[in-house]
């Protein structure tokens, strides 16, 4: 049998509908918040040519564009201050990006019936890449939590808000692996090597849960929890400090061009 994955597997239509409604509400909350935050930026004085006359759409496009500038994508400024923090952020951002792209491709494939990523050898490679990205994301997030809440200085300056982002994202990724692990435990495919971390979760769940029914129930619960927390995370973005996802690349890029000699190590 060709290796493949069925989207929304083990979910009844009612659950799918409930998730669709919940995701739509979360997305609406996200978009409203995004518009509101960027709208505030547009009310500032026009000072730099790069930002002159830009409205919400223009600033959003700039945010997307500047993300791919060398200073942003490689975190050069951060690396000049701390290699540990640089690696930690690279793990988090790049893995997050890979998983985000993976989710979009999966969605497109499912709704457009493309059969590129979710079947055959392509699926195995795709699965391996996402598995590694998820693992690196967990390492990055755990490192960030340890740094923030174990060292005396960082514990002193950190707040609960700083924890919310890390914990929410960690929950999404770990639950994602749990969903994968449970699905593989039920299907028992021969190609488990292509999902090393998901495979580890499979072994764990096989040891914990013996019957197929309990594995199916656990899969459903994990899937719903994964989906709900992921959507809460999305809705929370524009109302929290995670919104720096949209702002930090613009300031990093601007400071390199405006104040190259002042604030950046050449």
């Amino acid at each position: 049998m060709e290796p493949s994955r069925v989207v929304y597997w083990n979910l009844e239509e009612s659950w799918k509908l409930a998730f669709f409604i919940f995701a739509s509400i979360a997305l609406l909350i996200f978009l409203l918040g995004l518009w509101s935050r960027i709208n505030i930026w547009t009310q500032g004085r026009d000072e730099e040519n790069t930002l002159k006359g830009l409205g919400v759409a223009g600033l959003l496009w700039l945010s997307f564009k500047t993300f791919f500038s060398m200073d942003c994508i490689l975190y050069r400024r951060l690396f000049t201050m701390s290699t540990f923090r640089g690696v930690m952020i690279l793990f988090i951002v790049w893995s997050f990006l890979i998983l985000f792209i993976g989710t979009i491709l999966t969605t497109l494939e499912h709704y457009l019936d493309l059969k590129i990523f979710l079947t055959g050898r392509g699926y195995l490679v795709f699965s391996l890449i996402l598995d590694i990205a998820g693992g690196l994301l967990i390492i990055g997030l755990v490192a960030a939590l340890i740094r923030r809440y174990t060292t005396p200085v960082n514990r002193r300056i950190s707040s609960l808000e700083d924890m919310a982002f890390l914990v929410l994202l960690l929950a999404v990724v770990v639950l994602g692996f749990a969903v994968e692990g449970l699905r593989l435990a039920i299907h028992a495919p021969p190609a488990l090597d292509w999902s090393p971390i998901g495979g580890a979760f499979t072994a764990l769940f096989k040891a914990l849960l013996q019957s197929r029914e309990s594995l199916l129930m656990a899969h459903k619960i994990a899937w719903i929890a994964h989906g709900v927390i992921a959507m809460i995370f999305v809705a929370y973005i524009p109302y929290s400090k995670i919104f720096h996802l949209f702002a930090a690349q613009i300031t990093t890029s601007l400071s390199s061009t405006l104040y190259g000699g002042v604030v950046r190590e050449e």
Partner: protein, 400 residues
């Protein structure tokens, strides 16, 4: 709310407020935090608080249900913390996402001033003095040119104007004298404004950008324009900073601005200035905040002073642990000596200790405010360093 919390901020600055990841680097490097040895009033907390104010008055909830009133006590407490800062800019220098905090703090101060929060009485007092005698020390106008050495003749007109500044004219006179002697030694023609007024930095950095600030700027620009100067060169880093950022807000400048050290360093490199006397021993150099991380300047003058020092025969430079763009702040700028003098006292000690640790014979500075700060620390017996303190120009002139 009498005024708008975002009206003084640029688009970039509003984005900067949202860009903060609260990574904590600014807190670890903040000169105030290092001096008081406590993580209070950190730059990232100021950013979060101000962002919260903006969200309360301009965010989604404010749009749907109307702006929330921010309690006076909350704004007062925030403003109080905002002025416990020397605007040294170390926070911005280390920020991984490029938040240029120095400019952010002074622009938020401008809003606080407009709204009536913060040390209003001290700012009003400074303005009153400035209006009367056009220097922040309350010293008579007629004493402003007393620093001019009798043996130096300064032409009425030249393409280059040396902008003396209040601190050099009244307090750190050897610096002003050093500057003109070195310019003469390099055969560079220059003039000065004999009826110079304050550059306007003291009110500007405290958030005051009203009529009195504009009056000081206009008077100086008119005088320089009448002399037909093409380049204006201050020595005080604060003068240079406000000329580049604050003056253009009042009037279009018909001249370029350049720091005296840049001109002197070029003259040294071109062989126009030669030091004939040697110095046996080591010196260390403190990079002034507004030269190594200066807002509005768009350049960092860290190599030029070292070029001058190294050209003196026999001199060996030993760098302090924190140097160039990471140099420690001695608590002399940002209006902190006027608004939080005790904190300023405390901030000067770590810098002097770091200089002593180099075991150099002399600590050189290139900022009149820093020089005066150290003098105050020693004179008031706050700390007595075992190192001689000199201005870089004074030191250079002694070896001509």
């Amino acid at each position: 709310m009498k005024n708008n919390l975002i009206s003084n901020l640029s688009k970039r600055q509003l984005i900067e407020l949202d860009a903060c990841t609260r990574c904590g680097l600014c807190a670890e490097w903040c000169s105030v935090v290092l001096a008081v040895e406590d993580y209070v009033n950190t730059p990232m907390d100021k950013i979060r608080q101000y962002k919260d104010f903006i969200q309360a008055t301009h965010g989604l909830r404010a749009r749907l249900l109307g702006p929330k009133k921010i309690a006076d006590e909350e704004l007062e407490r925030f403003a109080d913390e905002l002025y416990k800062c020397s605007t040294c800019g170390r926070c911005g220098a280390v920020c991984p996402v490029g938040i240029h905090c120095q400019e952010l703090w002074i622009d938020i101060r401008a809003t606080m001033r407009e709204l009536g929060y913060g040390p209003q009485d001290k700012i009003d007092e400074a303005l009153e003095i400035l209006e009367k005698v056009h220097n922040p020390f309350g010293l008579p106008m007629e004493e402003r040119n007393d620093w001019i050495p009798r043996d130096i003749e300064i032409p009425e007109k030249a393409e280059l104007a040396f902008f003396v500044g209040c601190e050099l004219a009244y307090k750190a006179k050897p610096m002003a004298q050093g500057a003109v002697r070195l310019l003469k030694a390099a055969n560079i023609p220059f003039t000065i404004l004999t009826d110079e007024w304050c550059c306007g930095f003291p009110p500007y950095v405290l958030g005051e950008r009203g009529e009195e600030f504009a009056a000081e700027v206009e008077k100086n620009v008119e005088g320089l324009k009448a002399k037909g100067v093409k380049r204006v060169a201050p020595y005080c880093p604060c003068c240079l900073a406000v000329m580049r950022r604050g003056w253009p807000e009042v009037v279009e400048l018909p001249f370029e601005t350049v720091h005296v050290l840049k001109i002197i360093a070029e003259a040294v490199e071109d062989g126009k200035i030669k030091f004939n006397k040697s110095f046996k021993g080591t010196v260390t150099y403190h990079d002034p905040c507004y030269l190594s991380r200066g807002w509005g300047s768009g350049e960092n003058l860290t190599d030029e002073p070292r070029t001058i020092i190294k050209s003196i025969p026999g001199v060996e430079i030993v760098e302090m642990e924190h140097n160039k763009k990471f140099s420690l702040c001695p608590g002399s700028g940002g209006g902190i000596r006027r608004t939080n003098l005790d904190l300023s006292h405390e901030m000067s000690i770590p810098v002097l200790k770091e200089a002593e640790a180099t075991e150099a014979k002399v600590l050189l500075t290139a900022c009149p405010a820093v020089y005066e700060r150290f003098k105050m620390t020693i004179n008031e017996k706050i700390y007595e360093p075992k190192i001689k303190i000199m201005d870089i120009l004074e030191f250079a002139v002694a070896h001509l």
